[in-house]
Amino acid sequence: MILTSGLTLFGIGLLAAAILGVASRLLFVKEDPRIALIEDNLPGANCGGCGFPGCSGAAAAIVAGKAPATVCIVSDAEASARVAAIMGQEVLEREPELAVRDCTGGLRADDAFHYEGALDCRAAHLLYGGSKACPEGCLGLGTCVRACPFDAIHMGPEGLPVIDPAQCKACGNCVAACPRGVIAVSGMTARLLHLNQTTDCLAPCRQKCPAQINIPRYIEQIKAGDYDGAVMTIKERNPLLVTCGRVCPRPCETMCRRQYVDETVGINMLKRFVADRELHSGSRLPVPCAKDTGKRVAVIGGGPAGLSCAYFLRRLGHSPVIFDAMPALGGQTRYGIPEYRLPKADLDWEIQGILDLGIEARLNTKFGKDFTLASLREEGFDATFIGIGAWQASGMYAEGEDLDGVMGGIEFLTAHALGQKPETGNKVIVVGGGNTAIDAARTCVRLGAEVTLMYRRTRAEMPADVEEIVGAEDEGVKFRFLAAPARVIGDENGKATHLEFYEMELGEPDDSGRRRPVKKEGSEQRMEASLIIPAIGQKPDLGCLYDDGEGECPLETTRWQTIVADPDTFETAIPGVFTAGDVYTGPDLVISAIGDGRKAARSIHYHLTRGDIPVPETTQKGMIPYTLFKEIDFVERKKRAVLPHLCHGDDRNCTFNEVEGSLSEEEARAEADRCLRCGLVCYDRDLREEPFLPDLRDQTKDA
């Protein structure tokens, strides 16, 4: 019996072995020996961070060419180099990546009560769609902490996840676990390329900023005393922070929630504070750039759009060359903004910092004359950016405006900036209500003239910044509102001597929402003038785009003399040619040109590296409606900071010294403390003893 049993089992075993032996010959799958070798060099953590099923899966993917030798997030550089060596490759320097949390906080503690014990963000999200008061912000339940296999995340004292950069391997598990998308794994390149998404945690100020600066983050850094960090946060979106700290009209502040309590946070003052700190520190903070790609890009125009585009292209590893028709870079920030608002030395310092990254500048080189799009292609440029601005002053459409003694606002400011000492005489009339008009008027005051600013609407409808209007009033500029030029009267030598104008009255609102001025018949009057400066508007000078004598433009243009381009990618009708700034939008803000310059650089980067230019469907274009509300409760009133004046009286009216100064450190910290740290809808209240806590779910039901 024992023999039979043994033989039977042996027989079954033998049969099974024979079948398996035959099967292994028939069903043999040739496996690359490198897979086993590579697997031996992987750490065997099976953490899933690489996205493949285990280390064997990752090894197979490396051999199949579906993953790089650096795919393992746990491996150190040496292990990656060994894996690369097995594949006959070399590991190049890899841009470091880290998980970053992008949410400033809010009313999470109250909402946690409503989750009925579900201590997990995903559960809360599934049960209620998340906190009703904070649709995109952090829920603070710590799911990411549990998801991190490297113990790199802990919940901070304010209930927000804190990431330890030393421990983080950028595996992305926390990103996958977070249902609100407030954590992202990114390196410098990814951050520079990121466009605001509606799914991001965007405070209203950040949504409104044309450059998409992470305003809550840099204010938070200032509050914490991390001024260098704040500078670097701003420089991820704006290389001209010294300039913008002085001249930005602050669209962000129009959206600041603090205005519903007392006054908006002085966002731009804070930007200027950290920018000036670096400016006067005697050294520059190092700006990292990606590894050289060897791609060359011609940037035509060295104004804010061109400088911004070149700066971001350089940071993305490309080699831009800036071509500018003027003797110095800066565009209208140099030639259109007077010295008393933006000292040229500060502008020079800022621009030099951009060039020091490794950007070549060719000055006094005019597009259309010294070079063309065709010659740039012949020179080997892989892409071209056109940011030539809007340098042509619009006319008054009044008889006699071509007489001697009539000079466009931008032409006057440019001539003055070039040191050409334009003749003003003693009676100057500036026509217009924008910042250029005010700049021209205040410049003429400093040149010793008696200045009258003529505007066809009322003071309340002037598009210039209120501070600029007040500054002009303080300096003695006279205003003549509700008046519009009719004709320029000249003497026998063809020199303008008087401006004849109509009195106006306001009629029905026009497309801009402002009441349309209507002239009063028979109200003509004359005003003496030695110089008349129409500063009514500007438009791009597109003469450079036309081939001599041909009269044909290689680029499509609009009737406002702007270049036509894709609004998402900024690519023109000619592939590889991009545009942004005033030549695309028409006259606009410096910060808009800077923001669009970065977006164009992003497009150029994608064009050069992958051919197509991705634009996510969730890209934020307008304000996100549910983030805007008009009432803020439980916030203590605090006074807004005021910028100090650096010069007074004659010293102010007779010199071009800078008028406004910067905040002190103490003032800046106090101003940063006024920020409500808004997430999307939530905000951090600063009054701790609330009389009651509102039931947020009831509010939602009502809504």
Partner: protein
């Protein structure tokens, strides 16, 4: 026909291989943390259980029974199932690579799954014919899959609830399995 139907329903619900017979507990607790994983494991068990039951029936019928070697049943079945799993692994790797990849680690795990062995042994104990054996194996495999997916769903919910530390993980998993087992006893009234 009714006989087959009752056999099928009975194997799947009333005599559920894991909740009533209490076989295959190791993979039942080990792979029931995630619904996706549970579906993968369940599918693999169904496939191997049917194959194993069919082949072991043939071994019993044509090798062990004729020679009066019924007492070697367990040893022989272990040999057969292990070889079968190895063969299936080779076959899938060569012929259906996507399925092989999706089954991944579960395929070798089934070699040590006593539910598969249990199904093969029950078929012999009940003296089923070949068709009944295959049907019973299919129903038992599906029963295992249902129990596994249900428990995974419950454990996914439990993972985010407030629990005493000592109860988290396997302890609460076992309690839930016990409660599910009690619930499945209600199916006894069906047949």
């Amino acid at each position: 026909m009714q006989e087959y139907f009752l056999l099928f329903i009975g194997a799947m619900f009333v005599n559920n291989i894991v909740l009533a017979q209490y076989l295959g507990n190791c993979p039942f607790i080990g792979t029931s943390k995630d619904t996706g994983v549970a579906v993968g494991m369940g599918g693999a068990v169904v496939f191997v259980a049917v194959m194993a039951a069919a082949i072991t029936w043939l071994v019993q019928e044509y090798v062990l029974a004729p020679f009066g070697l019924g007492f070697l049943q367990t040893l022989a079945f272990i040999l057969v199932i292990a070889a079968l799993v190895q063969f299936v692994e080779m076959f899938l790797k060569k012929m259906v690579p996507p399925l092989y990849k999706s089954l991944g680690i579960f395929l070798p795990l089934i070699t040590t799954n006593c539910a598969v062995m249990g199904i093969a042994l029950i078929c012999q104990r009940e003296e089923f014919g070949f068709v009944k054996t295959v049907l019973f194996a299919l129903a038992s495999g599906l029963g295992f899959m249902i129990a596994l997916v249900l428990l995974a769903g419950i454990r996914e919910k439990l993972a985010v609830r407030r629990l005493p530390i000592a109860m988290r993980g396997t302890p609460i998993g076992l309690i839930m399995a016990g409660l599910m087992s009690l619930a499945f006893f209600a199916f006894k009234g069906m047949i």
